[in-house]
């Protein structure tokens, strides 16, 4: 069974078509990339899965269960974590605190128990720290552990956002332009990290990305969108050489080897 099944979804924003009967599936353990020109509906697709948008038609199923019946805050609990294109971290908290929010869905104690800070809460808190510290180690964030987000450089924030998403303990990770604004060096580090996330944590990755170098280096399959419609779907090289993709997205210059 597919992990994620997007089935004929259509979204309009005030007369503008954002998505028009888009269907695809993501298999467990896959790294799946979505490419396409600006305004093609890539972010809308992510927001649909996060339940920030409502589709007019179609269905989105995760492990067989329809997401449309869930509230936005119920998505993380299913095991879907995400990052944001323009980085949405909790600016005035430390890296550690940000990651701990990622453990929110794993809390068990009642409000009263939290106010009283019972021994059970204490044990749970320590378990959260252990999990979060593991994430900090995994993504090499130790030097920034106690620093406030507002003072961190852009490249580090990108990694913190990934770490926070992983702290949820997701089955699927949605990365919205993980390499945008990163230098070639940092983008290469990100490439290794994405591969590690799949290899060592067994997390399925769905990402939107413009950097074709990164896309072809890590992804198993690529979906090309334009004007809310599916242009092509296949392996990175298949999609990159697809004439419609070249015309609408890559341009002739970039397609030349």
């Amino acid at each position: 069974m597919s992990l994620l099944d997007v089935d004929g979804v259509t979204v309009h924003f005030g007369g503008v078509t954002a998505l028009e009967r888009v269907s695809f599936t993501v298999e467990p353990g896959e790294i799946f990339a979505i490419v396409g020109p600006n305004g093609a509906g890539k972010s809308t697709l992510f927001n649909l899965i996060s339940r920030f948008h409502e589709p007019e038609e179609g269905d989105v199923r995760f492990a067989g269960e329809s997401l449309l019946r869930r509230a936005p805050s119920g998505i993380a609990g299913l095991g879907i974590a995400r990052t944001f294109q323009n980085i949405e971290l909790f600016e005035h908290s430390s890296v550690l605190q940000n990651l701990l929010v990622g453990r929110h869905t794993r809390r068990r104690a009642s409000i009263l128990a939290q106010i009283l800070f019972t021994p059970a809460v204490r044990r749970e808190e320590i378990a959260h720290r252990v999990a979060v510290e593991r994430m900090i180690d995994f993504l090499d964030l130790q030097p920034h552990r106690d620093r406030i987000i507002a003072g961190l450089p852009y490249g580090i924030r990108k990694v913190v956002e990934v770490a926070r998403a992983l702290a949820i303990g997701p089955r699927m990770l949605l990365l919205d332009e993980p390499a945008s604004g990163l230098s070639a060096e940092e983008s290469r580090d990100m490439q290794f990290r994405i591969k590690d996330i799949r290899a060592r944590m067994g997390v399925t990755v769905l990402m939107v990305e413009h950097d074709m170098g990164l896309v072809s280096a890590v992804s198993d399959r690529v979906l090309a969108l334009a004007d809310g419609r599916v242009l092509a779907i296949g392996t990175p090289s298949e999609v990159q050489s697809h004439p419609k993709v070249i015309e609408a997205y890559l341009g002739t210059e970039a397609a030349a080897p």
């Binding site: 974590a81 909790f90 701990l100 009283l116 808190e125 949820i168």
Partner: protein, 365 residues
């Protein structure tokens, strides 16, 4: 500079990060408990007043300072707590401890009920809606005369705890200790909330609702929790306040009180428990300072000067100075001094200088 080495996961989870701080706070509590032995009845009354305002301040602080929901209507919840406690004691004949807890619960419930419609409001709009709520309170108290005594008001019933008569005038030290115990319990609970998922969820919805949602934080439930806890604590403060001022009517819980409460926590330092205490100290201290100054002036000039509203005026002037020169309040200023002393002599002036900052519209949501 002192460095604390991280040696166990427990270190972050503990109530106090290190032994020094634990000792310091224990000494502070011991000092506070010993105050009735030192102070005369008048000053002890003022100390009690500080504690009551600090409890109210903590109530608003959790909502405004941590969950980021500005409220200009918390006098309404002081009123609910005050009247609920008095009515429960008088009409239902509950003992104080029961009616006190129930008053908090009722006010908390009222807060949750207010939170449900308020969920759709953000920032400035929420502040305005709560301001309207505060404006309504006075009129509602008058209209609900059968319960509230309307314009005449109510008299706070006597408190008996374990056979002892606790009275603001008859036994001021017992009443002080009662307020101290309430303040300590609230402080401890507040601190616990901050180091658990609930407190982190508050901060999360303050900083970014959208990513809080993506992390699985239910914004509606969290806001309702923040309102509920905040109002519960404020209700307790209101109940104590009722006993402190003894008689009260609709004129006690005006919109001015709401504003004063917000101003108080801003002066103290938003986003810190200590800030609530500092703010309360300033709020209660100002009239005393003015009295002393007035007595001094009278002795020097031989005639008395009376300026109506001078307390509020001075309070507001202090507020303006704080916002302009130390937006992080008294608590923030002290923290900076602490860093300065710890780093001495390596502290640069630039360290706390703010670079120019710029705002973007909040009309895009």
């Amino acid at each position: 500079m002192r460095t604390t080495f991280q040696t166990s996961y427990l270190q972050d989870v503990r109530l106090f990060p290190d032994v020094r701080r634990a000792i310091r706070y224990a000494a502070l509590v011991a000092l506070a408990a010993a105050l009735p032995l030192v102070l005369d009845d008048f000053l002890l009354g003022e100390a009690t007043n500080v504690l009551i305002w600090a409890v109210a301040g903590m109530g608003l602080m959790v909502l405004t300072g941590h969950a980021g929901q500005a409220s200009l209507g918390h006098a309404a919840f002081l009123a609910v707590g005050c009247y609920a406690n008095a009515i429960l004691m008088e009409r239902v004949d509950l003992p104080f401890v029961a009616s006190f807890l129930a008053a908090g619960a009722i006010t908390g419930l009222a807060g949750v009920l207010i939170a449900i419609p308020a969920l759709r409001l953000h920032g400035i709009y929420l502040a305005i809606a709560t301001l309207a709520l505060s404006m309504l309170t006075e009129d509602i108290i008058v209209l609900a005369e059968p319960w509230t005594g309307g314009v005449t008001g109510l008299v706070a019933p006597d408190i008996t705890i374990a056979g002892a008569q606790v009275d603001r005038y008859g036994s001021p030290d017992l009443f002080y200790w009662l307020c101290l115990v309430v303040a300590l319990i609230v402080t401890l609970g507040y601190r616990n909330v901050l180091r658990t998922p609930l407190g982190r969820a508050f901060v999360a919805i303050r900083d970014s609702e959208i990513s809080a949602q993506a992390m699985g934080v239910n914004v509606a439930v969290t806001k309702a929790c923040a309102f509920g806890l905040s109002c519960m604590v404020t209700g307790w403060a209101g109940a104590l306040m009722g006993h402190f001022i003894y008689t009260f009517n609709h004129e006690v819980f005006t919109v001015i009180i709401s504003i004063q409460l917000l101003v108080m926590i801003v002066i103290g330092g938003l986003g810190s428990i200590q800030g609530a205490y500092w703010g309360a100290l300033v709020l209660v201290g100002i009239p005393q300072v003015i009295n002393i100054a007035r007595d001094g002036a009278q002795a020097a000039l031989g005639s008395s000067i009376v300026i109506p509203g001078i307390e509020t005026g001075l309070f507001m002037a202090i507020l303006i100075l704080f916002i302009l020169f130390e937006p992080r309040g008294i608590h923030g200023r002290l923290e900076k001094w602490k860093v300065y002393v710890e780093l001495f002599p390596f502290c640069r002036r630039d360290m706390f200088r703010r670079q120019k900052s710029y705002l973007k519209t909040e009309r895009m949501r």
